[in-house]
Symmetry: C2
Subunit: 336 residues, 2 copies
């Protein structure tokens, strides 16, 4: 069985960890491919930093800081403090010492000409995440955010990480622009992993700047729409708010309500009301949180999105594995 997951950072990584736990517990022999978002990549101090890829790699490889959800456990910030002592900018990025080794290896391999997908595989030789972790593209892509400019009435674009970390998504975002997308290609294996999958899962990652970014890579959205596999998503919105992170600020920027149903409508149904193919939708199935969003079942089902209300809080590994199990079970009910 081939399961393909489109993942951002913390939500996607933890969901995938639960998925692997579920597969082991149920003795299902499955290959899992994670297509990782690289739109939040940033180059700082000559280091190529891939926060979402690293979050997946560290989470599945046992190196993640469970408290923070990103970066390494037992992390120190000596280099960051020293860089600040030199007065170099930016000083708002959480660049940990353990993490820096990853960035040094990656940056040196990239400089030597290896594509990011090969570099990621090499890093995973150490972490053994139990999945094939593939960046969405080997091309350098960066999400930039359109915000108010310095002069009244003007706007400017800043790197996603500056908006997300420095401003904590607290200044209005008018749009997200994936710089480099026109010339980008999916990394080797990305389209095949979607096309040849038995199940495609959209974990509770940010629908705009994580999964939405992956879907912008040329060919990826079409691959999801046309794969023979069922496509099942897990709502990142519970009770009208993101479980974690600041997806609400991202959804507001693109005019989507922060609700489990609205995110599903934003992804769209793969079939229309007659059961025929829709014009652009992605979802066969959708999981919402039972205690807060059960009403979405009645709303979304007529739209062609098979929706189930189940416990969606990833409070521990078992709870997360149960969510993954529900997603796989839902996939079987919508399999054509």
């Amino acid at each position: 069985m081939q399961i393909t997951v489109l993942a951002g950072g913390i939500g996607g990584a933890r969901f995938t960890r639960g998925l692997l736990h579920h597969l082991r517990a149920t003795h299902v022999d499955a290959e899992v491919t994670v297509i990782g978002n690289t739109g939040d990549d940033i180059r700082l101090f000559g280091l190529q930093i891939c926060p979402d890829l690293d979050t997946v790699m560290y989470t599945l490889g046992g190196g993640i800081s469970e408290d923070r959800g990103w970066g390494r456990e037992g992390e120190t910030f000596t280099v960051k403090d020293e860089l600040a002592a030199y007065g170099v900018k930016p000083d708002w990025f959480g660049l940990g010492d353990r993490d820096i080794a990853t960035h040094l290896v990656r940056s040196q391999m990239l400089a030597a000409g290896y594509p990011l997908s090969a570099v990621t595989a090499a890093l995973c030789d150490r972490w053994r995440p139990g999945v094939s972790l593939v960046p969405m593209s080997d091309d350098r892509l960066e999400t930039h955010v359109v915000v108010d400019g310095d002069e009244p009435g003007t706007r400017k674009a800043i790197h996603f990480q500056e908006w997300w970390i420095r401003h904590r998504a607290g200044i209005p975002a008018y749009d997200f622009v994936l710089v480099g997308v026109d010339a980008a290609q999916p990394a080797p294996g990305v389209l095949e992993a979607i096309r040849d999958a038995d199940v495609v899962l959209l974990p509770p990652s940010n629908p705009v700047v994580s999964i939405g970014t992956i879907l912008q890579v040329p060919g990826v959205r079409d691959a999801v729409r046309t794969t023979a596999a069922p496509v099942v998503g897990v709502s990142p919105i519970v009770g009208g708010a993101p479980v974690r992170g600041m997806a609400d600020a991202c959804l507001a920027a693109i005019g989507v309500e922060t609700s489990a149903a609205a995110v599903a409508r934003h992804y769209g149904a793969r079939v229309d009301a007659t059961g025929g193919p829709s014009t652009g939708g992605l979802l066969d199935g959708w999981l919402v949180h039972d205690e807060t969003d059960a009403a979405a079942v009645g709303e979304l089902t007529p739209l062609g999105i098979a929706t189930r209300a189940v416990p969606l809080l990833m409070t521990d590994l078992d709870a997360t594995a149960a969510i993954a199990g529900e997603a796989l079970a839902l996939a079987e009910t919508v399999r054509r």
Copy 2:
């Protein structure tokens, strides 16, 4: 008063710290320029590392590890351990976390096109070493060491740091080759600092791979030979052994005895026995250690090298300042 010092790492840095202390204590208004060896520079993990420049900068800026003599006080080695966990090589270089920030700033500025001399000045904005620290060249130069090859009867060249640190200078060295020297130029200000100096000092640095390397940069040896300033050196050899480091292994490689007198003869006298200019010598004056090497006075003076036997152990700042004071006093006796 302009004092120019040709410095390697620990010996040169500590001597210069003593020199500054002496100048302050004696209320001498002097500008000190340190021309730093960059032959031991090494590029590792995409970082351009300048051990001798950093030793001078940290020592004079109050950031050095007094115990080790190199690197930062309070240093940690998290990144190094993590790189080893990835299995990347080499694993023998002592790359500290605090130190890495310096290398990141340097490497990023070099990549942006700034010459090493400008980068060094920028780093010194933080450290305020109290001297003008100028690399011997803005061109990339690396000392390589000719050693036995892997097959019997063959030889190969390895980076100086590999010989020095990995092998602790414990395998036979047949020669030292300064890679890149043919095309190298002295950094801006290097020749002027020697030409316009009131005193030129050769501190107790390694005469082969530190001062000897600086002297190989085109124009530097001639500048030392022809400056109007007196040139005074301090023996790095005391009682037939290096005070610190492994200069004996370097001297052996070039066929020079490990003695205070032999190093002086290796540098050579600027004047011949008649008082006229010699053919290639550098020294007007030479300090040797009184308790062990006083015999060198009688040996070297007839060769035209004014030699004094004084306490040469840099046991503390006051003792080191006294050595610098003796060097300056000797310079006055040989001033033309």
